[in-house]
């Protein structure tokens, strides 16, 4: 069985994001990391591989710097590494999904794991979109997955609450925060990772014709400054504060 895991390199969630000239300044990002939900996907992909055998292929789509996370994945046990080299500006969601779907097809994977959304764009379209293109069953908001016979059992949050579901191949699991954190590598893994080749592919290699993006980025901007702190007298002010939390702060 071939297992594919989709990984994205993003600015570390602790990194400061600065905007200059209408664009997020990537050069100012102090640290790039594997997107946190993808780490859960990778951990469970490793567990599936250890449980049922098979080959684990780590796939990323992004600029040259992104190959770092593939090496990180190799250090914890990914068997092969695929880098779709592409500068993702100028691609819309379908471009990215088509590229990833083609790469998955090429590996022959019948089960795909990914994060429910990336920590940069916060979209959550890639996993389900790729599943749809490939005709795979999509299970989102997953916190655990294991093999059972020829298929899988997963824990997920559904609109009606937590559920244990079973699915058969081919399928895709998009991970929410999961029960087990991604394992730490060890020196042996790191030294092996150094020797592992990254297969670099262009859209042409994958037979994907890149149509022009149908969504054009107009600008990035810094979020509105928070208003200065406000102080209210007495418990009678609670409704005011709650409505501000909802309408001004948008946090509830």
């Amino acid at each position: 069985m071939t297992i594919a895991v989709l990984l994205k390199q993003v600015p570390d969630t602790t990194a400061k994001i600065t905007v200059s000239g209408g664009r997020v300044d990537e050069g100012a990002v102090s640290k790039w990391s594997m997107s946190p939900y993808d780490e859960y996907a990778l951990e469970y992909a490793l567990q599936l591989k250890e449980g049922g055998g098979g080959d684990l292929v780590a796939i990323t789509c992004g600029p040259a710097r992104a190959s770092k996370i593939l090496t990180d994945a190799a250090a914890v046990g990914a068997d092969s590494l695929v880098h779709i080299v592409s500068d993702d500006s100028g691609m819309d969601s379908s471009n990215v999904q088509n590229l990833l779907a083609s790469a998955i097809r090429k590996t022959g994977a019948e089960v795909v794991l990914c994060g429910k959304q990336a920590a940069d764009t916060n979209s959550g379209s890639t996993g389900p979109g790729v599943a749809s293109i490939l005709g795979f069953t999509c299970v989102g908001m997953v916190s655990e997955v294991s093999m059972e016979g020829d298929g899988f059992v997963a824990m997920r949050t559904s609109p009606s609450g937590n559920e244990k579901v079973s699915v058969s191949k081919p399928c895709l699991f998009a991970f929410d925060k999961a029960a087990t954190e991604m394992r730490r590598p060890n020196v042996r893994g790191i030294m092996m990772a150094k020797k592992k080749a990254v297969e670099s592919l262009t859209p042409a290699d994958l037979g994907v014709t890149m149509e022009g993006s149908r969504v054009s980025l107009e600008s990035h901007s810094a979020p509105a400054e928070k208003p200065p702190g406000q102080k209210f007298e007495g418990a009678a002010s609670v409704p005011t504060v709650v409505s501000k939390l909802r309408d001004e702060a948008n946090v509830i």
């Binding site: 602790t14 770092k68 090496t71 990180d72 250090a75 730490r184 590598p185 060890n186 020196v187 042996r188 790191i190 030294m191 990772a193 150094k194």
Partner: protein
């Protein structure tokens, strides 16, 4: 706040990708498994056993040694590991230094093939803990005059004497002990359980509280013949171990200094006095910029030394200078950081006083600050100043 490792000159960009991955692995271990437990470990005066297990799992013990189940990393990587561990605590780094440089290294360099095959894999995996017995109650800076003796009894050696200030002693399965056999210093491997060998723990330390420090006592201790290290005679044996450990310390001290700087910076930015953060006052900025200056210099020193170590172009005096300087500035930085934290600095809510107290030990062990000055003095002048009897 996540740890922001001060690296003003981006010295880490000189590391290989592999070295950076090792750094990130150890840093993650320190963040998630050391820092949440360190203060309690210090209060309890214990070295948490799960740290031993995880150091073994990560595969960092005996980092620069090759073969026999050892990691085979560069000395640079070993330095980086020490730095990241000591950012957590000097006691943790001491554990790793002693295991790798003082216990595994002599077996690796001076041991027989059988000894290497028997001991090293178990020590690299962390299954067995090692310690190193050189210093005695009355012979610290002057180990050449040690009292501990070994006697050849035909089918075994008989060991008599005592060692002191031995990191890991009580919890170790393996002790590399230096003793005089017919007046010549030799290395012996003593195992936990050997007849006549005890390792009582030394209590009441104000420093390195999360590290085990012991005495090693040998009273007619019987050692099988095959436990002598065949490959070395004289002080060269223990000194080659110490060179490696001191090298690691020159990196480790930077980690402690970075932790203190990070805490002092955070604190000074959030502590309001006279209506403003204390970081906005010139006296505080002066301290912070001095810390930045010294840490940056120490990083460059350690990095360049690591290149010489890996290239084999180093001399022991290079290591003396780095150990002496980097520990010295780390201790001064810890003191200044404690000062910036005001009264809060004495609480174990902040790491600064713990690092400060630890570094007092680090300044003294593995060649005191003054002894390293004398080593450099001898190097400059050609005149040794350790004794009054000039040669």
């Amino acid at each position: 706040m996540p740890y922001d490792a001060l690296d003003f000159y981006d010295v880490d960009s000189l590391l290989t990708e592999e070295e950076r991955m090792v750094r990130d692995m150890v840093r993650d271990f320190v963040d998630n498994e050391v820092l949440p437990k360190i203060e309690q470990a210090c209060r309890d005066g214990v070295f948490p056993d799960e740290w031993r297990v995880e150091l073994g799992n990560m595969g960092v013990l005996g980092a620069p040694l090759k073969g026999y189940g050892c990691p085979g990393l560069s000395y640079t990587a070993y330095g980086v590991i020490c730095r990241e561990l000591e950012r957590g605590d000097s006691g943790l780094r001491s554990f790793a230094s002693v295991q790798g440089s003082l216990a595994m290294y002599p077996i690796w360099d001076f041991g027989s093939e059988e000894q290497k095959n028997y001991y090293l894999p178990k020590m690299a995996s962390g299954e067995w803990i090692g310690c190193f017995g050189l210093t005695e109650p009355d012979y610290g800076s002057n180990p050449g005059d040690m009292i501990t003796r070994a006697e050849d009894m035909g089918d075994h050696y008989l060991l008599n004497g005592a060692k002191m200030w031995i990191t890991n002693g009580t919890i170790a399965q393996v002790a590399v002990v230096w003793a005089k056999l017919d007046g010549v210093i030799r290395g012996f491997i003593v195992e936990d359980g050997d007849e006549g060998f005890t390792a009582p723990e030394m209590k009441g330390k104000h420093s390195l509280k999360a590290s085990v420090t012991s005495e090693l006592v040998f009273q007619d201790c019987k050692i099988p013949k095959d436990r002598i290290l065949p490959g070395v005679k004289g002080l060269r044996g223990p000194f080659s171990c110490l060179n490696n450990a001191r090298y690691g310390i020159s990196w480790g001290a930077i980690g402690a200094a970075q932790a203190c700087f990070d805490s002092a910076k955070e604190y000074s930015l959030s502590r309001i006095q006279f209506d403003h953060p204390i970081a906005s006052y010139q006296l505080v900025q002066n301290k912070l910029s001095w810390m930045l200056r010294e840490i940056t210099k120490a990083q460059l020193l350690a990095y360049h030394l690591s290149q010489k170590k890996d290239a084999g172009t180093w001399i022991p005096e290079h290591i003396s200078l780095a150990k002496m300087n980097n520990v010295d500035i780390a201790l001064e930085i810890a003191r200044a950081a404690r000062d910036i934290h005001g009264a809060n600095g004495i609480l174990d809510e902040y790491p600064v006083m713990r690092h400060m107290a630890n570094l007092e030990s680090v300044k003294t062990y593995e060649g005191t600050h003054d002894i390293h000055n004398l080593i450099l003095g001898r190097h400059i002048t050609g005149i040794q100043a350790f004794t009054r009897t000039l040669e």
